[in-house]
Amino acid sequence: MGEGKAGEVVLDDRIVEFIRGLRAAGVRVSLAESMDAMRATGIMGIGDKTRFRHSMRSTLIKEKEDFPVFDELFSLYFGGGGQPLQNAMEDLSPDEQEMLKAALSAMSGRLQQLLDWLTSGQGPTKEELEEMARRSGAQWANSPREARWVSRRMLRQLGFQHLEQQIGELVAHLQKMGMSQKSIEKLLGVVDANRESLADQIAQQVGLQVARERSERARDLHGTDLMHKPLQSLTEQEAELLRQEVRRLVAQVRSRAALRRKRGNIGKFDPKSTIRANQRYGGVPFEVKFKKQKLKPSLVLISDVSTSMRPVAEFMLRLIYELQDQVAKARSFAFNADMEEISVTLSGNRAADAVADILYNIPPGYYATDLGNSLATFFKEWSDTINGRTTVIILGDGRNNYNSPRIDLVKRLQQRAKRLIWFNPEHRQQWGTGDSDMLDYVPYCDEVYQVRNLAQLSTAVDQLLVMS
């Protein structure tokens, strides 16, 4: 009885630790969900590993995208530490055991230890493994990939790469001493199996240690000023953090927009349908009907995807397409030297994948940006996309490499669309310097926003949904 209780406590601790590991890996797990997981384990027991796994996953993980993280960590925390090592001595006669001992002691120091483990079935203890992992740098590793690298290093330090040769020598020794071929083969079989088990144990130990170390470190975006760092100077790692942040931002923007729509939903009084609806009450106006207002904007996004604009364009596209449901209709075009429509790729796919796809497929161009030419193409090919209800957003730095800015086309765009809004990632002081035609464009825009960082970008997008 008492033992069962202790076992439960150990298991609960393990689950708590596992949840901390999940959180450190970026999965959001609430307290309520942790409690659900515990209760589910109580019901399900842990006898059946698959069921235990399913019950943990359905209580803790609420998004398909987090499944891989869960699977990886689950096998680390609850994997059972790989197969135990077997004892090769058991199958040998006393004489042969002596031979093996003698042959082993003839080998050199560090490698002798490894062969000892592999033949005796007495592997390194947990503490030894931990110590070895630390010496191989497990505490500096940050991700599963780095953990794999650490375990490879550990195997090398243990002498795994010379193992073949060592085993060859051992076999030669044993043959010289007169061990039978059959026994040697048996021995080799055990050593081989043990080698794999030991490698598994090491990988598991290192993975667990890395996951633990990671869960000790706080990793919070809100303390940093990443949101205010210019998008163009983000490192790849920072960009990745921000990409995760986009989803949280989108949720905020979406609920704001939904509330606004709900409050603003009452349009003008609609006498016609009020009379019709109240016929059944003998004309007494019980139900008052209002005209619905169409509040969702229909957007055309024209985005500069030249090399310098890429980070900004990426985040803009992510925001817009994560917000697809807040928009009546969105068509997107990308330009560098010329215009291309990218809406098709974007619809239907998950926003994040789609955006990555698009940026990958459009070749980067240096000093080739030409908005004038691109707009000419736009009017030739897709002028029907713009009518009095569309809001056009141009995302660009207004630098045309001294090509003609075609102010006339921007003017025409503004006249045909409901509104023309310009998002520029450059600081206002830089507008009009060098090859920037921004100051010439400004008079024809209804709104101009500076979008240097993610904070500004999300504010601008929010505003867009307000006004359109």
């Binding site: 399900m44 069921r51 399913h54 359905s58 609420k62 398909k64």
Partner: protein, 311 residues
């Protein structure tokens, strides 16, 4: 009620629903933890079917709430029956006159009328919509909230209250608590992210396209008069289509439609002509059909395709 996980599996399969180990585990847990299940996954993999099979397996009625943009409380929870209230006022006019005739002043008349107000806002005039039906039901029910991702964010927030306490308050009547806690299945096609709060309250079940063997089992179960050899071939084609870069890959429901089409066409084998005639059952976009024809037909017609698939 289900007793064990294998009991879940058996009873669901008696409803012609093949539940994987994971699905049965989650259903069992949902029942024991009294938590809603949120199922996500591509369209047509049997998310809605799960709720139907669940209700069938336990013999509980199924109450379904189909979500759409603009769905609000009056459509989901309850509505006052204005027309009935009006009708009753008209019919009871004489009685009302008697009640009010003794009143000496307007104030007194109003007070008397106010006393009777409860009559018109009682549950006689309450029109329960799916959510309230599920709470009021005398026997346990399975409540299916279908395509929650299509409803607005505000509705989702409202649903939270219902799902966490299984009670609602109606201003004129008071708080109504569920007689039996309903078993709730929410489905989502993942067209938008649901709120964290909602996800937190549910068990999560991702239903993906089935493996070849599982799908073959489903086809055999649901379309028993399709020849086994043909069923295998058909499922292999579908599985192959799913790996293509199509706008909308076929899901189980389309596989079943196709299987039924093959039966009614009396097809002997899936050759090029059958394929040409029936591909539109599987694929819903012209561009996809063209693409699939090109890729499947690229190996020189039906015979060799059959050979390639047969590996």
């Amino acid at each position: 009620m289900f007793r064990t996980i294998s009991d879940v599996q058996e009873k669901l399969s008696s409803q012609q629903y093949i539940a994987s180990e994971e699905i049965s585990t989650v259903v069992y847990l949902a029942q024991d933890l009294c938590k809603p299940i949120l199922t996500e996954g591509p369209a047509g993999v049997g998310k809605t079917e799960l709720a139907k099979a669940w209700s069938g397996a336990l013999g509980f009625p199924l109450i379904r709430l189909q979500c759409y943009e603009g769905l609000d409380e009056s459509k989901a929870l309850y509505e006052w029956e204005y027309a009935k209230q009006m009708l009753y006022t008209q019919l009871l006019r004489d009685t009302l006159r008697d009640v009010l005739s003794e009143a000496k002043s307007l104030t007194e008349a109003t007070a008397r009328l106010a006393q009777e107000e409860d009559v018109f806002f009682s549950d006689k005039f309450l029109l329960p919509r799916p959510l309230l039906q599920a709470l009021l039901s005398e026997e346990p029910v399975v409540l299916l909230i279908d395509e929650i991702d299509r409803a607005d964010v505000e509705f989702e927030a409202f649903l939270l209250e219902v799902l966490s306490d299984f009670q609602v308050s109606i201003p004129e009547i008071g708080t109504i608590t569920a007689i039996h806690q309903p078993m709730v299945v929410l489905t989502s096609n993942n067209t938008r992210d649901l709120s964290e709060a909602l996800k937190r309250r549910c068990l999560y079940l991702f239903v993906d396209y089935p493996s070849l063997d599982a799908e073959l089992d489903i086809v055999r179960l649901k379309v028993p008069n399709l020849k086994p050899e043909l069923a295998k071939q058909a499922v292999e084609v579908v599985q192959q289509l799913r790996h293509m870069d199509l706008r909308k890959v076929p899901s189980i429901s389309e596989t079943l439609d196709w299987a039924r089409a093959l039966v009614s066409l009396n097809a002997d084998s899936i050759d090029e002509e059958t394929m040409r005639n029936t591909l539109t059952v599987l694929l819903k976009y012209e561009a996809d059909v063209q693409r699939a024809r090109r890729l499947l037909g690229g190996n020189g017609g039906g015979q060799s395709r059959g050979g390639r698939l047969g590996r």
